[in-house]
Symmetry: C2
Subunit: 199 residues, 2 copies
């Protein structure tokens, strides 16, 4: 299969690359790294990315950023950072991707643990994850041409433990292999509309 | 208690009014109706609404609109209608409401059935509901001064059966009383971080 992995250079994206690259043709996409660059907050840039890649069998997106901070100090602009930094990029990759997706292909998005197991300062991220999970469930029942859509919702990765030190006290840490298996199930299996929790 | 009900003239908001008005002072807010008018897509208008009302014990929001249509024909602007029409209004009512909310008060938002039981054309609404549910869970754990936040997530109301005829085939319809009890539980009880499902 020809598999596009957006955010391939990040921790989660790299777990997807590790799980899929032995058996498939991987096109790595990043903001500044990878085979092709894209600005995910610009729909024209997303379209140009697909145009450069052509027809695909799977799109995996493992990107997202947003504001972290106390809810009672959050501004609307800070809340919108998570919409613009995580929700719209992932949804736009789907909306713009249909015409490039082969029959029976798949979209796999990445949400995360914070809408089921919240942390201090994480309400914006929880909303973003909830939007992605909701979209996946809503979209899955009407995907055309046998195309599937799922989300991987991982706990914090072992490799990100140092980066997030102190933010996720008491949370599990999961291996690249465990996260990779979820992407493998989404891309190489036949599940549809699933939130694949890794914890 | 002094309870603000935003969207009081809608079907869901009216169910909240019916459940709470016997025991509490209700301030009805609408776009064009009610005691006070607000443009929920304008943060300045939301702030002016709170300024006019003053200190409150509870804010109930029962509004939201967005695009309905097949996911593979949806544009990003159509997707954003649900963000701007349902997610941001409800979240901004919380973010701007802290300084007007008395200690131990509550915010009650309204999501809906579509992110747990999807319908054709409902992926945008499912994402919006998921964002609201996610925000509630994320925000609840760090609400200041004993303030609580919950969401009511109702099935289609009996009174809206004709309006949505054909869109929700096979779905249950719920009574005003059942929906009102959920708002009563959120406003008059002590639950926090709950998605109060009515189905």
């Amino acid at each position: 299969m020809k598999v596009v992995i957006v955010g391939a250079n990040g921790a989660v994206g790299n777990a997807a690359v590790e799980a899929l690259s032995e058996r498939h043709q991987i096109i790595r996409v990043g903001k500044t790294s990878g085979d092709i660059q894209v600005d995910l907050e610009d729909v024209a840039s997303i379209r140009a990315m697909y145009e450069a890649i052509g027809k695909i069998d799977a799109m995996v997106c493992a990107v997202g950023h947003g504001h972290f901070g106390p809810v009672d100090e959050m501004t609307t602009d800070q809340f919108i950072e998570g919409i613009n930094g995580k929700v719209l990029p992932q949804i736009n990759l789907v909306l713009s991707g249909f015409e490039y997706m082969n029959d029976g292909g798949s979209f796999t998005l990445t949400s995360g643990v914070l809408n089921r197991d919240p942390i201090k300062g994480g309400s914006g991220a929880a909303a973003a994850n909830g939007a992605i999970d909701g979209f996946v469930g809503g979209a899955a029942i009407e995907m055309p041409r046998g195309i599937r859509i799922n989300a991987v919702s991982p706990e914090v990765l072992e490799v990100s433990r140092a980066k997030y030190d102190g933010f996720f006290r008491g949370h599990n840490h999961v291996s690249n292999e465990a996260v990779g298996r979820a992407f493998s199930k989404a891309v190489e299996g036949l599940v549809n509309g699933q939130i694949l929790i890794v914890e």
